[in-house]
Point group: C2
Chain length 622, copies 2
Amino acid sequence: MSDQKVYRLRLGTPENAAPVRLFGAGEAAPFNEGAASLPFSRREVQSRAAARGFVVELPMRNDEDIYGFGLQFHSLNHAGRRRFLKVNSDPVCDTGETHAPVPFYVSTAGYGLFVDTFRCATFYLGTNGERGSSKETAEPEQERKEFSEEALYALKRARNKRSVIIEIPHCAGVDLYFFEGPRLLDAVSRYNRFSGGGCLPPRWALGAWYRMYGGADQEAVLRLAEQFRRDKMPFDVIGLEPGWHSHRYSCSFTWDAALFPRPDELVERLKAQGYAVNLWEHAFVHPSSPLYETLEKHSGNYEVWGGLVPDLADSAARERFAAYHARAFVDAGVAGFKLDECDSSDFNPSNWSFPDCASFPSGLDGEQMHSAFGLLYQKTIEAAFAARGARTFGLARSSWALASPSPFALYSDLYEHRQFVRALVNAGFCGLLWAPEVRSCVSSEDFIRRLQTAVFSPLTLLNCWRIPNPPWFQTDTADNLAGIRMADSDTVTRITRQYLELRAALVPYLSAAFQRYHDEGVPPMRALALDYQEDERARAIDDEYLFGPDLLAAPVFAGEAGREVYLPQGEWRDFWTGAPVEGGRSFFVTAPLDRIPVYVKNESTVSKCFDFKRFWGYTICI
Amino acid sequence: MSDQKVYRLRLGTPENAAPVRLFGAGEAAPFNEGAASLPFSRREVQSRAAARGFVVELPMRNDEDIYGFGLQFHSLNHAGRRRFLKVNSDPVCDTGETHAPVPFYVSTAGYGLFVDTFRCATFYLGTNGERGSSKETAEPEQERKEFSEEALYALKRARNKRSVIIEIPHCAGVDLYFFEGPRLLDAVSRYNRFSGGGCLPPRWALGAWYRMYGGADQEAVLRLAEQFRRDKMPFDVIGLEPGWHSHRYSCSFTWDAALFPRPDELVERLKAQGYAVNLWEHAFVHPSSPLYETLEKHSGNYEVWGGLVPDLADSAARERFAAYHARAFVDAGVAGFKLDECDSSDFNPSNWSFPDCASFPSGLDGEQMHSAFGLLYQKTIEAAFAARGARTFGLARSSWALASPSPFALYSDLYEHRQFVRALVNAGFCGLLWAPEVRSCVSSEDFIRRLQTAVFSPLTLLNCWRIPNPPWFQTDTADNLAGIRMADSDTVTRITRQYLELRAALVPYLSAAFQRYHDEGVPPMRALALDYQEDERARAIDDEYLFGPDLLAAPVFAGEAGREVYLPQGEWRDFWTGAPVEGGRSFFVTAPLDRIPVYVKNESTVSKCFDFKRFWGYTICI
């Protein structure tokens, strides 16, 4: 019996290459009959080996809701759906594919399940009954309905006896880890603790990030960074995009001598102004790189963009990659990296990744490596800083299971504001952090609305790699390139500054939330389903979320004057006015451009006052 | 040495369940060194078995273009791309997934390759070089380019030494079939002959099809069918949608007694007016169906919509399913079926298909069955008619390899006019017929433009299951349901009638083209690449196609006053005016609403005159 209330069930013969072995994890007791408080017994978990792989079946109740599976953009509750967990940088359909799929879910039946695999498993969550199971309940004639498409499709959602079917391809066994509830939040917190506890970002990482124009040279970067200080735009991190490499696709990992002739001086001057410096890269190693020769024998058998694919599951490759980064960059004062292109797009006509049938010296094949690559890359970069006793925090385009302790937030070029809010809500179920970056905006309204979401998110990031001037000067890309200031730049600048100041003021509150993530596994940002599980309306909400222990954020989208907000039962206060708001109902709230609807839990135990007199003329206490 | 110039290469130990074994095929000589005239030797074809499956590698030239892979909606030339051949009813991305993927391609290097598998194989067509292959050619510094996204991405399209990599999962070997060129059309024709030769549709199937409103009862169907005759709308086929079943999702395969009290009389009266009758169904068998008990032991282990999934790879299931259809429907005079929902959507939240890990008594697993299901279903229905010595022609939502002889055209709900034209162009590479059905239209212009494409396609289909009145009465669904006639209905009716008459007049010409498809394997509709392979501009065209031996069709899309047309080198004539048009150039052609640009080859050997004096005031000779 384990205090952790985590139980391992070994079925068949698991593969060597699996997350627990590669990334490490906590203790788990054996899942013996009677040991665990789970909604099913050991013998109700069935499994079989087949030519395609290994299949597991679990009971599923008819009223069961299921959450998780990583950074999902398209749905919140996965009951009744099929989830295919493949890393994919452009998940346009609701299949389960995403930058960071995670073979972990939590169920309202009172448990969580982690499948310890790098295989692209498919989860059928109550989609198919067994042959014959509908025979008893079937009606001979179909009730006559209106002949609309919707009516026809509704008929297809019949409720058979359900089960969860999990197929893990290309293997003959797997370890399952069950996490006790009874509540969703219990199971999620246990999973995060089992993963090693949530990460603790340095305070600068909780501030505001600005990624510079891709065509900027050393002088242009310094000029803009200095201007931010003069203009009192409180950014904490300056990021450089691909242009700093002498060869970019694939990467040289050396500075471009023409654009950045004195990189050490650049980093020093940025640090002197209080900035942490972050560098873009991907892991594919160009023949001109000093890393090439040392990694050649420790790489996969196919190239990407004419570069090596380092086998980061091989400790030699990891150590060499980390040692180079420590020497070339950490020693020079760089604070972190943005790990791009590790999420192997399926949808690009060009060669964006290695084949699934690739092989690596460590024994992983291409499929396993696609799953593992993002988190292995994160661990490698973390090791470069650890080698110097330094902390880091960075950005990554891909992740997998057991990622809770990794000091990285996920990001993406993709940007449909509603989807990004849904991903923020979903990320909290599986130990992931998601940065809904502000990038291309269609208007200054759109920019402000996205910025508000970014300020109420794990990481506040303005990605300006396509524009030489800040977005508050001009949001239109062509006009920005032409240096034309937009008409409402003054207003947008003022609101931008206010929100960056607000983010800075929220850092202590956020630090406390992350400390709890680290110690107890409670996600700092999370779905209402986790705190209000019994409230079915709250459970279905995918466009509001808890931001830390005491705040509920409800982002507004461009083109809308406000929005419907649902507040769970209880007393709440308006974040901006302090006025009491009654919960247990939904209501329309008008949102002027400078207001994102945010509510404070009245039972809030934290008592902290933010002095916003300078900006909004009042003090906010939570 | 074979006269067919088709060569089989057996690698490893192929699976039992494979298209050639299940569907039958022609002769093939062994691919021995020196036997075949192919662009590579036997020993240049490499293969290996791995945990994920079986991998084949072939040489690929840097200038090689590759076509095929079935009903592709998103691209024409697949060189430089990855193709994942999975049956998917909603292929929104360019991954290779589609209703009817086919593991067959043709290459401008002078060969065709068919991979004899039901597995979801992945083809990497020159995407990745081997490790180290870029070392010699790589430049140390990247040429400085404008920092646009496009410029960065262009850098990623570097040209390494290329190869075709094919991964066939979950197996330890495969049979490859190589088809000699030297020309693309030679290889395609050989593939069609190897498949059994192209199908020969009955003449009525080459006419015009109308699918009735889903809510129509027996009287409403007869009323509209009679009205078509009075209005001189020359339809040849009347199709009934799901409403005729007493239970529809899953299917009962029995008439709904309330809506269709005298089905035999209905079919007889439609036949008496010269209509062929087509019935909608899918293959999933509801417990209330007379087919249920006889199929229960011959079905897969999971249900779909509470119905059995008959194992159509099991001859007992096929025979029982066919015998029932012969008795219940063929004997009553039904001419064919529309086989819906056999293309297992991945993108639907509800339960649209069986899991990949399903198992079937025949030994096929879910993955194999998904691939085989559409064509097995077609063969089963064909057998129901063959049992009565009757011919049929029908519609199906899914197909696979070796489908050339099957008397079915593919169709889909999906409808983006340009994509559907591209699919028409692509279908001709792989022995498929595609019906770009006219369904929901945004305007009467859109309706006419789609109708014109449908008239110049393998099957002219108006799918009106959502509207009780014909689309030439009203194209807007809500207004159609309300019985409101649109303002330009007279004009639209006139043009519709003209195009249906034109289709009727084209039947003899089409019959000749299908005869050649049957005898020689030459696709009746095909890409310009097949006839003008040496013309690089013609090879890239995905919105014009050859319609039979002598006509080139260039559909116009709603909102456009005309279009750019490219005509290959040679003398052409305008189909509508007979005026000579010079080829080897592209030009803009204005297209009034009643004109789809069509051109006649001047070297045309067929000489046939269509008298269109009544409609357009002149005679067309081709």
